[in-house]
Subunit: 344 residues, 2 copies
């Protein structure tokens, strides 16, 4: 960035105008967008689904290795992922930002480039927000709104005994990507002259910095008339999410280690850190894949989609939530994933 | 607070469970609340109105003199105010919090007591949120959702030439309340043994710490079939908001200083600081009253409500936005109010 425009020079309203001047509303239900006290959404016999997330610099992201454009993209995508996880279609987002005066207008534009790229890709409208100053760091709060045909949304607490346990894509890559970036950051902090060595790791780093939400899976499920009995997105690691479905549905499960989808790039990368790829998938977090349950009778329909893996099945609660390892052992599934308050 | 429970001891999910265990959904349209990826809202021929705001410790509030319960209450109310300002009825909110480990569970409970008190008073449901750790301070992001009969929402850019310019309640008190609290804070910081002297100032301090949204006015307008031509809430000072309506509607206006509603308590308090009460009303901010325009033919209906003041009228844009002072002078209205980025 060769120029630097102070945000203070625009004032809040000038800033909002600048940031929203190119918005075009795409959804017929977006009646009124940014620029008034509130946005207006219309509905025609649909139900509305709403999700909200906060991302805080130094807690959820590190700007030392997170390009602002990617951050803008990701902050939208992680919210859309929650809407898809309800079996709904996202239609609008609102975005509130807290910014310290360390950020220039050019930096903010870069962030919004990513925001708009995600809105474009997922056909959602940015319809409102709030921009204020923060004393420290960058704070992002996004609320996503989606729609769903009445009573077709899918909750976490409705899995049934005997259901297949399924997940999408591959797991654990974002976590290994984070390990690489944290390692290179430490090396850089100790010696700024050393160039980062991330050669060949673009897959895992891409999974961390620019995740995608599984719009394609929701569309596939609709086209094939598959209605999951329960569903959620995998943001805190597979273990933690499986336990949510088990506890909320009052069930147990059997998870097969060998069935957990792991990308070859992730496996290779995990070995460089001498860690178990399965552990990354179980506890890593930030995958934004979908976890869902289905009646066994739907199995034939699933084989059409190679992005879906059957990884286990649901049992009575008394049988516990267990993983069957490749070595033939059986262990309780435990949530060792991310805990928002332990790290501070 | 005699006990202190560390939030880290509960974990994120334990914390969410703790904070939401008493939620009862009141609106028929709240199909699914906290506890899944997203909340679900139903609609029956209504339009949805959405507004979002972020409040950051040290920027928007000072915990040295802001009781947490009041803060919780206010963080809901300021968002509801935006929904009412669209001529809509708020129905749900989502709330995301960023918390440093300085906060105990007891402190958070106090905050939520205020949140639930506001939800109760205004008949809104808390249907979702996100709770995460922050490196510094307390960050609150609220999204409010409301409903409105199709096409009865009121925007800022639709005022008409000749319309009456009206506002509700009285203005400037919250700003003077802030001056008192800031003064006492400085005295305390210099000498912690001196007791705060806020005797007799409960009106202006109450206006700052525990504002109310003008639900009553929206109900009055509906009952009397009064449809404002434009409306917004007064959060950044009367001047700034009047200029929004003028600019967005491409009009000018005449504002009569003598018509600006000022409470006797505020006038007395302003004199203690040797500042002009009118200046407080014009530039103070945080009033959360409503500003709206109406055809002159509606004047007779307004006299029924002593909470509404006619303060001027709209003119052609060429005539400018001007205030006619008590002394007989005419000045341009300028927005000297709050600028989110100048103070950092």
């Amino acid at each position: 960035m060769s120029e630097r425009t102070e945000i203070a020079d625009l004032g809040e309203f000038g800033l909002i105008k600048h940031l929203t001047k190119n918005i075009e509303l795409k959804n017929a239900s977006s009646i009124l967008g940014v620029g008034d006290d509130a946005a207006v959404i219309d509905h025609f016999g649909k139900q509305t689904v709403i999700s909200t997330d906060m991302l805080i610099e130094g807690v959820h992201f590190d700007l030392m290795y997170t390009p602002l454009k990617h951050l803008g993209y990701k902050s939208v995508v992680v919210n859309l992922s929650d809407i898809y996880a309800m079996n709904a279609t996202p239609t609008q987002i609102t975005m509130s930002l807290g910014l310290s005066n360390r950020f220039s207008l050019e930096a903010l534009d870069e962030f919004y480039e990513g925001v708009y790229a995600a809105c474009e890709k997922y056909d959602v409208d940015l319809i409102g927000g709030d921009t204020c100053s923060s004393q420290k760091g960058f704070i992002i709060s996004v609320t996503a709104i989606g729609e769903v045909t009445p009573d077709t949304f899918v909750k976490r607490n409705t899995a049934q005994k005997g259901d297949l346990l399924c997940c999408t894509g591959d797991l654990g890559a974002a976590y290994v990507g984070l390990l690489f970036l944290e390692r290179e950051k430490q090396i850089y902090l100790e010696n700024p002259k050393i160039q980062p060595d991330l050669e060949g790791e673009s897959y895992v780093i891409g999974k961390l910095l620019k995740p995608e939400a599984r719009k394609d899976i929701i569309e596939f499920l609709a086209q094939n008339e598959i209605r999951p009995t329960s569903m959620m997105d995998i943001s805190d690691g597979l273990s933690s999410e499986i336990l949510h479905i088990c506890q909320d549905s009052n069930l147990g499960c059997r998870l097969y280690e060998e069935k957990i989808p792991i990308a070859e790039e992730m496996r290779r990368a995990a070995f460089k850190f001498e860690i178990d790829p399965t552990a990354c998938a179980l506890s890593g977090g930030e995958d934004y894949e979908l976890l869902f349950t289905l009646p066994q009778s739907e199995y034939d329909k699933l084989v059409l989609n190679e992005q879906i893996s059957v990884i286990g099945y649901m049992t009575e609660a008394e049988e516990g939530a267990k993983i069957l390892t490749k070595g033939g052992g059986t262990h309780n599934i435990t949530a060792q994933g991310w805990n928002a308050f332990k790290n501070t």
